[in-house]
């Protein structure tokens, strides 16, 4: 027990330490941004520090927090729905080759339609509001999760299935004890991608449907030609995404994928 706790602490330490590398990357981006600002002027591209200040102002004056919360709530709800639907459907299809063969072309069609088209359709069907945003997220992000789950099921090590069967595991326990871990390995990258998509689509749908939230605020900033505020809203949305990703999904993944750490040679630990 103590050992597991220590191991977890060590991983947290390594993770925080790797934050420096992330910070260095962000600093590089900020330097490029600053260069752009100096070349084109504050009207086209406000300085990064100025944007940060604007974002901080938005956060402290209260109303922004509510709008941000609206968007995050919509994105996370949409993400949760698509994660659930995509995983269940993907696992089922993975175990049933016939379903998979039918689902593949449907998937190609759904993925081929740009999210913007779904937003327009959803606006016509559901008006402007939470429903439109949720449906658009669901349609654009579910296929990603679905594909990840299917991939996890079909690429699982069948030798391990046979092993579990030899030791007396029925189909259910072969799934819960052996397949789930292998499916998760493919599912997590897909979930990260779906989360990012959920945030992007949420903001886009809000902007087009004028449904409030960060997208609504962006629409207003565009109308006023206020680039600083627009950029501030964008950085706030990105910050929220990073918070959800690193606070929720990555820790869950790290917990499940501990053995991969053991496989990585020294110095390559991420």
């Amino acid at each position: 027990m103590l050992w597991v706790g220590l191991d977890r602490l060590a991983r947290l330490g390594r993770f925080l330490w790797s934050g420096w590398a992330g910070l260095a990357g962000l600093a590089l981006l900020a330097a490029l941004w600053q260069a752009g600002h100096e070349a084109y002027g504050a009207f086209i591209l406000p300085a990064p520090l100025e944007t940060l200040a604007a974002a901080a102002r938005l956060l402290t004056d209260g109303s922004a927090r509510a709008m941000l919360a609206t968007t995050v709530e919509r994105a996370v709800t949409g993400f949760a729905l698509c994660a659930l639907a995509g995983t269940v459907a993907g696992v089922a299809a993975g175990y049933s080759p016939a379903t998979l063969r039918i689902a593949r072309p449907i998937l190609t069609v759904i993925l081929g339609v740009p999210p913007i088209a779904w937003i327009v359709l959803a606006m016509i069907w559901f008006g402007t509001g939470d429903g439109t945003v949720a449906i658009t997220i669901l349609i654009s992000a579910t296929p990603i999760v679905f594909v990840g789950a299917v991939e996890g099921v079909v690429t699982r090590d069948r030798g391990l299935d046979a092993m579990a069967k030899a030791f007396g595991a029925g189909p259910v326990r072969r799934f819960t004890h052996v397949a789930v871990r292998q499916i998760a390995a493919h599912l997590f990258p897909a979930l990260l991608l779906a989360l990012g998509t959920a945030f992007k689509v949420a903001v886009m749908a809000e902007l087009l449907a004028n449904a409030g939230g960060v997208g609504g605020a962006l629409a207003r900033a565009r109308a006023m030609l206020d680039v600083a505020e627009a950029l501030a809203w964008v950085s706030l949305a990105v910050a929220a995404l990073i918070l959800v990703e690193y606070g929720l999904i990555r820790p869950a993944r790290a917990e499940l994928e501990r053995w991969r750490d053991a496989a990585a040679p020294w110095g390559v630990k991420r």
Binding site: G159, A162, A166, F167, G168, H177, V178, W259, A262, A263
Partner: protein
Amino acid sequence: MSLLELSGIGHAFFGRTVLEGISLAVAPGEIVALVGPSGSGKSTIAHIAAGLEEPRDGQVARRYARHAMVFQDPRLMPWATAAGNIGFPLRLARRPRRDRGASVLAAAARAGLEAEDLGKYPVELSGGMRQRVAIARALVVEPDFVYFDEPFTALDVALKRRMQDLVIEAARGARFAALFITHDLMEAIRISHRILVLDPYGRGIAGERWLPGQPGERDDAETFERRQQFLERDALFAHIDDIDERVRP
């Protein structure tokens, strides 16, 4: 009454027949070695006998209480530590968690694993250690029948002997009966009561040879002598190294 009985087993993969008319029986406490050239269908027989594969025709009668299997490759779960892998059958048998530790340690010790290796993941273990984990996993449930599919090929000579002694000792105490698949005739002679030779094309069991005395009572000179006799003067064994002959330059 035999513990395991296959009668008239036939099997095909995607329409290609690999086994036909396989009949064999294993008595309680008996170690039966199954030899045959590579690709003749030995692993498939073990999988059918253990219920992993449905035979196309024929019947399998299993009269033992609990079987275990050591596969040709270790088949460890990469996300579980050595201890987790060894304890997996106990988890499946719904043995309470607090009882598992002692059983895992005992099985690991019998398979020659150190306690310090038990916390490692399969990627951190050597090939031989992985195979020993697989052997410990088979022993942990105290089976009364074990399928061994070329289990000791990845082990060095000393360890191989030790593992063979483990099988011999279990057979002597009638702890388990076993179907022991191997390429190594010396190994087969050393540990078994009876050797079955599979037809090179899986068309039935070509023949069997009873070995005099009990496993473990035969010394090395005698074992070697018998191997030479089988290979040089016994037509039954003429084909068992067929593939090896072809591979040789």
